[in-house]
């Protein structure tokens, strides 16, 4: 039963990943991230992604703070945040988020505040979606590991039993 759940969980994970790729939420850069995870850095992906979440939320807050100001004019500063967001999103493989950033940048270049606001909304939406999906992915991953780990005590138990008089 446990073994089944491990396989099932792995299948779930793969299905979710496939869906995300299909939707364009993630691209092959994410795969590169996964490939970098190994024994020496077993939690690499989740570490990086967590840093990404932290940074992105900060950036999104900053962007929103800039844009809600009625006298907003500092497109350059916004561009700095945006640039960083774009860089980190593309490094994670967050394709859709990065695309929205590109559109956002276009609006910013045109000094189009309304366009920027719209782009920000979209960005926030895409980011939330990504975050949820990645959470889901990590959750499945951990359940799978848990399920795989729980096997061991059962096996040891079997071993020990014959020894006990």
């Amino acid at each position: 039963m446990l073994g089944l759940s491990v396989d099932r969980l792995r299948a779930d994970m793969n299905r979710l990943l496939a869906l995300l790729f299909h939707q364009g939420v993630l691209d092959e850069q994410f795969l590169q991230l996964q490939q970098l995870q190994d024994e020496s850095s077993p939690n690499f992906v989740s570490e990086v992604v967590n840093i990404y979440f932290h940074e992105s939320e900060k950036l999104l807050r900053n962007l929103r703070a800039l844009l809600v100001d009625k006298e907003f004019s500092d497109y350059k500063k916004m561009g700095v945040h945006l640039n960083q967001f774009m860089g980190s999103s593309s490094s994670i493989g967050a394709k859709r988020v990065r695309n929205v950033c590109v559109a956002f940048r276009a609006a910013s270049d045109q000094n189009n505040r309304a366009g920027c606001l719209r782009a920000l909304e979209l960005l926030e939406y895409e980011y939330c979606y990504l975050k949820n999906k990645l959470h889901e992915l990590f959750q499945i991953e951990q359940q799978r590991i848990l399920a795989a780990a729980v096997r061991y005590p059962v096996q040891q138990h079997h071993h020990q039993q014959p020894n006990n008089p």
């Binding site: 700095v80 929205v100 951990q142």
Partner: protein
């Protein structure tokens, strides 16, 4: 410092490129971490930092510690291009630029500033596997230099003894070279030039100290920029151990630099003209025009000359020429004042008369010739008091010249502003205005320093700054971005001190947001660490509490707990000595908690945003957004960004920044704090 051989020999000669020592600089922690991991995968030695300042410090501490530098373009504390230039000038290491923005203009900028490569994020490992080629390439060139200089040095010694004519078995070129060198050797006075220590003559790099650069510039001036060929410069410079190749490469850099400032100068001349500078003072610049050499000096390349031609009317040419001229002259630090300010001051002295046209203070022109003379005098004196500047060399000289362009003229000072411009022409305009005001401030500061009587000038300068106030505020905003601090090394205090004062109030607030993104990470990191150290058991408690807190804090705690999760799993491992999956799973147990609460938090916080939507709706929206993005893509592409082609003189701004930073020592890590700025709730 021991003369280490070419770096490659140190560690990895047989297994190159394994062990390549890379310094990675990027303010974005994600990219930095990713880069680090990728580079480690390539089996390089990686050192990372998120601060350009720190990177420079590390590089300066030990020039042979790294083989290669990879740097992001957009960084809050220092512009990547500035760092690039400095590293190229001071340490002569290959630098690879990195950016999310693959705009060809930026790439071009990288190239002109001397980057040996430009990578676009996301960086792939394949690209990183090849970066070692840049190290090899540079090494080969250097070793060729080194061999020739070693030969020359040997032949020097020989000829000194034997008084024979060249013929040390070298090529003709070096033969003639030696003959001349023999004569010059008799003086054999070194002027305390750090770089010319005979013991280090085998060193592959020549360190271009202030002294050396001063000689270089003097030689170039004497020959005339058009006619300045390395060999003749070398002869004029009369420095032991310097090779023609050293001079040649330095000349190349110098020409690039001049080209940059002169094209900026032409832009600034535009601005100045637009501002309706009075005409009569220009005529007084006649004396400068008479100096034929200077005309050519002002236009180091065809480019600059072409640029200058529109301005040949009236005194404009003289005006344009003189700053450049003065720049070149004023690279010599006057012995009058403290070394750090020296370059600044002469320039400023020179500049004042030029600035005054904007403010109608004719009497000040009298100061002009005298300041020129003073400069001549000072050229002969060497300020050996400049002590700690081993590493500064070129950059310092350049920054010096830039200093007065900044202070003195409307023309030069735009460069620093130009630096600040990452973006739009709009800002450029604002910046140019600031240039003048910056110049005004600079003059003001220099006033304090110099013995010139500049009261009227200052008044005039202030007048000009008043003129430009509307613009200056805006440019205040712009400048801090790129001009934020950096290296005390290049500080020229009074100039930037005043600048700083004037800008600090307006700009402080603007500083902060930019700072925040970097500095924020740090305090956060610390608190994260603290959380880690606090109890691991506390994990679960933290988590259960999070739902009650505001989203931002929740987000913070989320990351906190996830971090602590890792910490906890680590600590579990030794405790159990158990199978690692087991311990990990225990750690990750709480992780699941975290995630659950995280998701919970998400759904709460994102309110009107995606979370509550159905999946198909999501998809629809997603496709919609994709379409929109595509559309915007399309919108974006044909649009020309219309950036004014600006020559970007990072050195000036860099210098200004440093001074500014010195003044503004600790830009406090503004505790922006995770306030209750709910995500999506602010609409």
């Amino acid at each position: 410092m021991t003369v280490e051989k070419i770096r490659g020999d140190n560690e990895n000669s047989d297994n190159f490129p394994v062990g390549l020592r890379v310094l990675a600089v990027d303010d974005d922690p994600i990219c930095l971490k990713l880069l680090e991991t990728l580079l480690r995968k390539c089996q390089y030695h990686v050192t990372t930092t998120s601060q350009a300042r720190m990177a420079l410090k590390m590089l300066r501490e030990n020039k042979d510690r790294f083989d290669l530098v990879i740097s992001d373009v957009h960084m809050p504390d220092m512009d990547g291009f500035k760092l690039l230039e400095l590293v190229g000038l001071e340490m002569d290491l290959p630098v690879i630029m990195l950016s999310a923005n693959g705009d060809p203009k930026l790439v071009m900028k990288g190239v002109t500033h001397g980057a040996c490569d430009y990578l676009v994020k996301p960086v792939r490992i394949e690209e990183l596997r090849n970066i070692w080629q840049h190290v090899i390439r540079r090494k080969k060139f250097d070793s060729r230099n080194q061999n020739k200089s070693a030969e020359h040095v040997k032949s020097h010694h020989a000829s000194r003894e034997g008084h024979g004519s060249a013929t040390m078995g070298n090529a003709d070129q070096s033969g003639k070279f030696n003959r001349k060198r023999k004569d010059e050797e008799d003086e054999s006075e070194d002027n305390g030039n750090e770089s010319e220590d005979p013991a280090t003559q085998k060193k592959p790099r020549v360190v271009w100290s202030i002294e050396l650069h001063r000689k270089f510039v003097a030689a170039v001036n004497q020959l005339g920029i058009e006619k300045a060929v390395p060999k003749r410069i070398l002869d004029l410079m009369n420095v032991e151990g310097l090779t023609r190749e050293n001079v040649a490469s330095h000349l190349q850099k110098y020409r690039l630099y001049l080209k940059r400032i002169s094209s900026v100068a032409t832009q600034q001349a535009n601005m100045v003209a637009a501002l309706g500078v009075k005409d009569s003072p220009f005529m007084r610049i006649g004396p400068f025009e008479g100096l034929g050499d200077f005309r050519t000096l002002a236009g180091p390349g065809r480019l600059a000359n072409a640029g200058l031609s529109p301005y040949t009317t009236g005194g404009m040419l003289g005006r344009l020429n003189t700053p450049a001229n003065v720049n070149l002259h004023n690279l010599t630090p006057p012995a009058l004042l403290q070394p750090t300010h020296a370059q600044n001051i002469t320039a400023i002295g020179e500049m004042h008369p030029i600035l005054s046209p904007t403010n109608q203070s004719p009497s000040l022109f009298q100061g002009m010739p005298s300041s020129l003379e003073l400069d001549q005098l000072q050229q002969n004196k060497c300020s050996t008091g400049i002590v700690n500047f081993n590493a500064v060399d070129d950059s310092r000289m350049y920054t010096a010249s830039n200093a007065f362009t900044d202070t003195g003229t409307a023309i030069g000072s735009s460069t620093s502003i130009v630096n600040g411009i990452q973006g739009t022409p709009v800002m450029l305009h604002g910046n140019s205005q600031q240039t003048l005001s910056g110049g005004g401030f600079g003059c003001h500061s220099s006033h304090n320093m110099t013995s010139f009587s500049l009261e009227s000038l200052t008044a005039g300068v202030n007048g000009s700054s008043n003129l430009l106030d509307p613009g200056s505020i805006e440019s205040c905003k712009v400048q801090p971005n790129s001009v934020l601090s950096t290296d005390p090394f290049h500080s020229q205090l009074p100039l930037n001190g005043v600048r700083e004062n004037n800008f600090s109030n307006g700009s402080y607030l603007h500083n902060n947001p930019v700072d925040i993104s970097t500095t924020m990470a740090l305090p956060f990191e610390d608190s994260r660490e603290m959380q880690c150290q606090e109890s691991l058991v506390g994990n679960v408690q933290n988590i259960t509490q999070t739902p009650s807190q505001k989203w931002c804090e929740q987000g913070q705690n989320y990351s906190h707990s996830s971090k602590t999760t890792f910490g906890s799993s680590d600590s579990y491992i030794p405790a159990n000595g158990a199978v690692s999956p087991l311990s990990r799973s225990m750690g990750q147990d709480s992780e699941i908690f975290n995630q659950k609460t995280g998701m919970f938090i998400n759904s709460r916080s994102t309110g009107g945003a995606s979370n509550l939507m159905q999946k198909n709706e999501n998809e629809k929206l997603a496709t919609e957004s994709r379409a929109r993005s595509n559309e915007n893509f399309l919108l974006e592409q044909p649009k020309s960004r219309g950036f004014v082609p600006r020559s970007y003189d990072s050195l000036d701004a860099m210098m200004n920044a440093m001074i500014k930073r010195e003044q503004d020592e600790a830009i406090p890590n503004c505790d922006f704090g995770f306030d209750d700025y709910s995500f999506g709730a602010a609409m």
